[in-house]
């Protein structure tokens, strides 16, 4: 992958997170550049979500520094450039009074001034985000009545409505069926290729990641960065990372070996 921009979106240096003397993450250094498609894998409790939370300023690191678009987190103001879809996104409260359109519109809230209401342009951007996620037909529906896969697309449309440069998704497939998952990965790849949106997502679906992603971060207290996962990710790596036996399954369609 050619890294044409010099200033990375995320520039992380020696980031550590300690709770009551126990290291959750130690000395993580990494960079994320424009246009990248990155998957983060690792065992539960390995610190993946903590890392994302520190990148977004939701958790304070014990030491180290995060720079976002070249700025220190506390000085960063252009949050609309970041689209975040958290782990529990598809597990929305069923009684929450929101139509699909209500939720997607939330993506425009931070972009407008206090004294202005939604403009025609906002409405157009919201429509566009729903179109990209193929949820226009659902716009009047209550979000609590949707399936896991539909909710997931609503949450991504909400993130897209702020016109982000980077989308960060934390295990977005929790509570989503297999067919929706495959459709979802296709959508992510499309956003990355056609819209040039940088994508970073945490996943457990090791089988899926080999196809489209550019780089792979494995997080288990420390970070291992794999620049060419198709070539270098082996089942031994996965076994070491998760502490379990991984077996090769031959994937006839793509002629890839996946674990």
């Amino acid at each position: 992958m050619s890294l044409t921009f010099k200033v990375p979106i995320f520039d992380v240096k020696n980031l550590s997170f300690r709770v009551r003397g126990v290291d959750i993450l130690s000395q993580i250094s990494l960079e994320i550049f424009h246009g990248e498609y990155i998957a983060i894998i690792g065992p539960n409790g390995g610190g993946k979500t903590t890392l994302i939370r520190m990148l977004l300023g939701l958790e304070k690191p014990s030491s180290g520094e995060v720079r976002l678009f070249g700025k220190k987190l506390k000085n960063f103001k252009e949050w609309y450039k970041i689209g975040f879809v958290p782990q529990r996104a598809s597990l929305v409260d069923e009684n929450f009074p929101a139509t699909v359109e209500d939720i997607v519109k939330m993506g425009r809230v931070a972009n407008r001034g206090i004294f202005t209401s939604f403009s025609n342009e906002d409405t157009k951007i919201v429509e566009d985000a729903m179109l990209k996620m193929d949820i226009v037909d659902l716009k009047e529906k209550m979000v609590g009545t949707l399936s896991g896969g539909q909710r997931q697309r609503v949450m991504i449309a909400r993130a897209l409505a702020s016109k982000p440069e980077i989308l960060i998704l934390d295990e977005p497939n929790t509570g989503v069926d297999m067919v929706s998952q495959q459709r979802f990965y296709k959508l992510l790849a499309k956003l990355n290729k056609e819209e040039k949106i940088t994508i970073v997502f945490i996943t457990h679906d090791i089988g899926v990641i080999a196809d489209d992603i550019g780089r792979l971060f494995t997080i288990n207290q420390k970070a291992t960065i794999c620049n060419d996962p198709k070539e270098t990710l082996s089942c031994e790596d996965v076994s070491t990372l998760y502490g379990i036996d991984a077996h090769l399954i031959h994937n006839h369609k793509h002629e890839d070996h996946v674990c």
């Binding site: 939701l58 949050w79 975040f84 958290p86 009074p97 809230v109 206090i114 209550m142």
Partner: protein, 265 residues
């Protein structure tokens, strides 16, 4: 029904009541969705401390109630963010502490009388011109702030962390919300009473949520239920000489039960 409007005190009570129905139902929507329902009860009891101080010291009890309720809301938020205490424990401690303090102040001041009873359960007889003016002067900016930030507050009630990572000033807006709610509760105790105002905040929204409609319509239904309950409840209060807070709350609970039945899954 029209003959009761011949009385000036009824006109005053209705103006104050309608104002409070609007304030309580709109702020109540955010309170319920944020799971802050118990907070309205706690702040109502804190407002009672203000009433007690006002009654004993001879100040306008409504103004003192507003100040004490706001201070109490800030204390709750401070304790929540800086100590490892469960939210409902904090609310429970401040609720009972406030009530105890109010009773002690009133007893020491020798003002444990009918006047306090009206602040506990609401009284349409006792709404003065000064009260109506106070409700209008303080309530209007409170409502304006709520409406101005309604989209941001809605986003925060949906998902606080996502709102934060979108650049919304979550801490500041939470602080603003509890301040406005404290003000609204303190203003409401004249008409609804401190023991019953929590119900006017929480029940119209809880009933509206049964209809499973979008945010705007939920607020509108909640507003309608609150207005109907205040108007109907105050009329009952007038004709049967009952405390207005009680009749208002019983009306809104009837609407809630009706909503539950109509929307049974």
């Amino acid at each position: 029904m029209t003959e009761m409007f011949a009385y000036e005190f009824i006109q005053r009570a209705f103006v104050a009541g309608i104002f409070i129905a609007i304030l309580a139902s709109i702020s109540g929507t955010f309170i319920v969705l944020k799971r802050y329902s118990l907070m309205s009860e706690t702040l109502a009891h804190s407002a009672l401390v203000g009433v007690a101080v006002g009654l004993v010291a001879g100040y306008n009890p409504l103004w003192v109630a507003v100040i004490v309720a706001v201070l109490s809301a800030w204390l709750i938020e401070y304790l929540r963010s800086n100590f490892s205490l469960y939210s409902d424990s904090i609310l429970s401690i401040i609720l009972s502490g406030s009530l105890a303090l109010a009773v002690v102040i009133v007893s020491l001041g020798g003002a444990f009388n009918n006047s306090l009873f009206s602040y506990l359960f609401g009284s349409i007889l006792s709404v003065s011109n000064e009260d109506v003016v106070t409700i209008a002067i303080v309530g209007t900016p409170a409502l304006a702030l709520l409406l101005l930030f309604s989209k941001e507050l809605y986003f925060i009630t949906y998902d606080e962390e996502v709102a934060k990572t979108s650049g919304i000033k979550v801490k500041l807006l939470n602080f603003l919300l509890v301040t406005v709610v404290a003000i609204i509760i303190a203003l409401s105790i004249r008409v609804v009473g401190s023991l019953l105002i929590g119900a006017l905040m929480v029940i119209p929204t809880s009933a509206a949520l049964q209809y499973r409609v979008g945010f705007k319509n939920t607020i509108l239904i909640s507003l309608f239920f609150a207005l109907f309950s205040v108007v109907f409840g105050m009329s009952l209060s007038f004709y049967f000489s009952l405390p207005s807070g009680a009749t208002i709350v019983l009306t809104v609970i009837s609407l809630f039960i009706l909503s539950l039945i109509v929307n049974k899954k």
